[in-house]
Symmetry: C2
Subunit: 333 residues, 2 copies
Amino acid sequence: MKKLINDPQEVVDESVAGFGLAHADLVSINSDPLFVTRKERPAKPKVGLVSGGGSGHEPLHAGFVGLGMLDAAVPGPVFTSPTPDAIIPATQAADSGAGVVHIVKNYTGDVLNFETAAEMAAAEGIEIRTVLVNDDVAVEDSLYTAGRRGVAGTVLVEKIAGAAAERGDDLDAVAAVGQRVNDNVRTMGVALSACTVPHAGVPSFELADDEIEIGIGIHGEPGRHKIAMEPADGITDRLLEPILAELKLAAGDKVLLFVNGMGGTPLSELYIVYRHAVQVVEATGATVERNLVGNYITALEMQGCSISVLKLDAEMIELWDAPVNTPALRWGV
Amino acid sequence: MKKLINDPQEVVDESVAGFGLAHADLVSINSDPLFVTRKERPAKPKVGLVSGGGSGHEPLHAGFVGLGMLDAAVPGPVFTSPTPDAIIPATQAADSGAGVVHIVKNYTGDVLNFETAAEMAAAEGIEIRTVLVNDDVAVEDSLYTAGRRGVAGTVLVEKIAGAAAERGDDLDAVAAVGQRVNDNVRTMGVALSACTVPHAGVPSFELADDEIEIGIGIHGEPGRHKIAMEPADGITDRLLEPILAELKLAAGDKVLLFVNGMGGTPLSELYIVYRHAVQVVEATGATVERNLVGNYITALEMQGCSISVLKLDAEMIELWDAPVNTPALRWGV
């Protein structure tokens, strides 16, 4: 295992510390328990947004803390859910009197721990709503989940619900628009290589030299099937097929197309995938109105990508375009 | 070789086409010869900035085309210089009557081709200045260069000179501040893994399972020496030692610290390097006033990073902070 790390047990703490130093203008770090909050408290009460989950998916979630997106993020150990003792104070920190929305990827540990934290926070008088993200069309149940996994759609939920909170929507409205994003986004991923969890020291799974895995999860958990390597356009077709089968796009529909890198794939390759994905999506009659291409929810150094398609409505477009000022996503400010 | 590509000969054209689709609000693509320009022409004459070089280093250079940075970028084949027949029309497109600055990384092919293009453009009445970037402290000469290589410092030259052009500085002033950035920035890189040029199909060099290469170039060309894998803090010390030996920082100095990923290294590891690099730099008495952490000048899917330290003056800080609106770097707008 070759990684730019020190003690494998210190990876998350040291990485978040460096992140905090690099973005001290935007975020504050609470080191024990570990969570990340926005530097500036809101001038008047607004709905707080909190997300979190296992580390190893950077920039998700801490990279999305800031104006127009999250108020707090809770990084767990690598690929392991954070515990309620960190989620509760992060929720308290994010609360400014208008309630808090938890954005939770559908993994069993995350669901349980956020549920417990929500109960405890509610007992202390903070109103909580939860948006459960489950956009992965690859498999119904996996090693980590009951039901569909939450993957790249999470970034879109966080951006759009975050903008709703920032403009002053109330708790139910923020949760509702986050839920609407989840209901309208579908994602599917592919791995060209495995990834290695630092404290494990060996790759999470095996792929032969000419083999790729279609439908992979963001922890390297199994997808739909392994196939022989093929050209990018063919892989793009395979990823989009189940997404488009569910979304049933038609002429006049507007979508956001998101090609997300898994961490070890060059940006140039993501643009090759994006190019063909636009052709395939627009062949349905829909138009790609907005896009995002880059490494936003990763699986350590895994090579591969995911494609997400979000069916947009006018309000989602307005909220997508709204200003955002976070370490990993920034425009309009 | 597993890559998200189609025909290896079409990698650059298809990637730039996808890039153009994704960022149609910011850039325009000229496909034959291949170059990228800003979507909006300046309202009044301003100094034009043009850079370019072999592809495989994305987002450099095309990702930095836009307000406050480059006016045009010329992507060559992977790791191969673009030719004058592309550089000349890119220079013409970037010219709005106030002259053009070429920002050229010090590789033999780039130097020759930009020189030829500058002569031809000058013959057509466009005033040209050239800033040659040679910030790599690893080796004096390499496979690709006479003298030091131009690496991550290029991003800082493009940002700061671009801001000077945007505020209306004249041709000599823009070239001068670009030159001053180059004179005050030093960079050193490390590779944990090799990279594979698509049309070659095999890795550019070999590293054993427990071996890393200190002083690597952005094409995988040899560095100073191969050593056994060691913790991130030790690697960070090794990268900073020759940089700090040259910059001779003292109490009161202000620097920009740039930790750049080579393409295949997770962001979380770059923050681990950044964390310790701040400690080492600030032990000189200098303070880290600005920073950049991420994948900005890459070597395909290589794992590793480079560290750059730029000694700042007040004007450089002002120009660094100025608005920028490009696909890969965006703030203040």
